[in-house]
Symmetry: C2
């Protein structure tokens, strides 16, 4: 095994958000191993050490493409984490050395946020990597300092989407109802929004275009579908 503890290694970790229509989820990778206390099984963020001659953004794209099969993912760097203690948990240390075959002092990781639509095609890829969508409110204790990374990522998404809401439409399906959009806002900002005020704002947005389609077979009045028009959006805000 190569000795390289003198030099920090650099990785990227991706906090991949998805929206079920009701809850905010993130994509986590199952991790199984043995430590002093025997077998364990927990979860971690998808990530990778960066390759030689690979840009940080490229590394994050690579991780996400391998994981989901999707290209053109909405992806933003949000913060880097480099505390020497972040890889000091013995369980994490052993796991790392097995995973990348290098004895490591610590890893500096660059955090990326990705926003994607939860879909079936994705699932196929994710299964190979033992990736699972997990409710953001129910992710327990993650490997390394990944709980902190997720916390910071969520904060970033809130801040970012306040100034530029385009990211939120990456989380919604191509056709979506006003209610879905409203609930997404509620889970992102963590508070109820007034239905009528939201409606007024929603229909006033020029880049939200109404479709001549409605929900089918719902046990109540069917809601209209809308779509997000990126071209109109870019004309206005770019």
């Amino acid at each position: 095994m190569l000795e390289s503890s003198l030099y920090p290694h650099v990785s990227v970790d991706c906090v991949v958000f998805g929206f079920t229509g009701e809850r905010l989820n993130i994509l986590l990778i199952s991790r199984n191993g043995t430590s002093e206390d025997g077998f364990y099984s927990d979860m971690k963020l998808p990530g990778s050490v960066i390759y030689e001659n690979e840009d940080l953004d490229d590394a994050a794209y690579r991780v996400l493409h391998e994981l989901t099969g999707i290209k053109n993912i909405y992806l933003q760097q949000f913060h880097s984490f480099g505390s020497p203690s972040r890889t000091q948990n013995p369980r994490d240390k052993v796991w790392l050395e097995n995973a990348i075959h290098i004895k490591i002092g610590r890893i500096v990781t660059v955090g990326y946020v990705a926003l994607i639509k939860i879909g079936q095609k994705l699932q196929a890829f994710s299964d190979r990597y033992e990736a699972h969508w997990c409710d953001i409110n129910d992710i327990g204790t993650l490997a390394f300092d990944h709980n902190i990374v997720v916390e910071k990522a969520l904060h970033y998404v809130r801040l970012k989407s306040a100034e530029d809401p385009i990211g939120l439409y990456e989380l919604l399906p191509k056709r979506f109802t006003e209610a879905e959009s409203r609930i997404l806002h509620e889970v992102i900002y963590g508070k109820k929004v007034d239905i009528r005020n939201f409606h007024k704002k929603f229909i006033s947005l020029p880049y939200i275009v109404s479709l001549d389609e409605k929900q089918q077979n719902v046990a109540h009045r069917a809601a209209r579908y809308y779509r997000f028009d990126k071209i109109i959006y870019n004309q206005i805000y770019r």
Copy 2:
């Protein structure tokens, strides 16, 4: 010389902003060296490779303390830069190898913004390091990708101070006039602000406290001094 090009190195670079009362300045380090084309002299951001077992934030604090002598600096991480091409300029490559005595493939750098008051005590320290305050609009071509780093830092300061203006008061002297505060806003946001509207907002802020002091020996009506009260600010916003 140690060979370690396989492993990326990690550094911090600090974009230190100061405000002269009229212009936004940043602190740059003179760099002299020889390359294929002979002598050169240019400027770079203050920064350092991180030490073994040193947290990123600690490294940035260390750089700033060595440079300015100041503790308790307002400091925020804003972005990381890791393009392999960022250290490919031959001039930069040679300089790096002389500076840290390691043959280097590339360096991933974590960018920090610092906001400080331009003062005399600082100058003493800065001289030792050949540090100079430079007008932000007149910094020419910097070493590495530091022009991009500065650009991103400025963008970050704008965004950040919109949601939390506390940082702006780090740039003003302890006693300042309303005009100084107004001009600071203008240089940060890059546009004129209306004097009377600014005034109304300014005097309504509970954490701006009026002092019983005025300017002396100015060739016009003397302006009142104010100070920023951090305690009141924290009571309200924390």
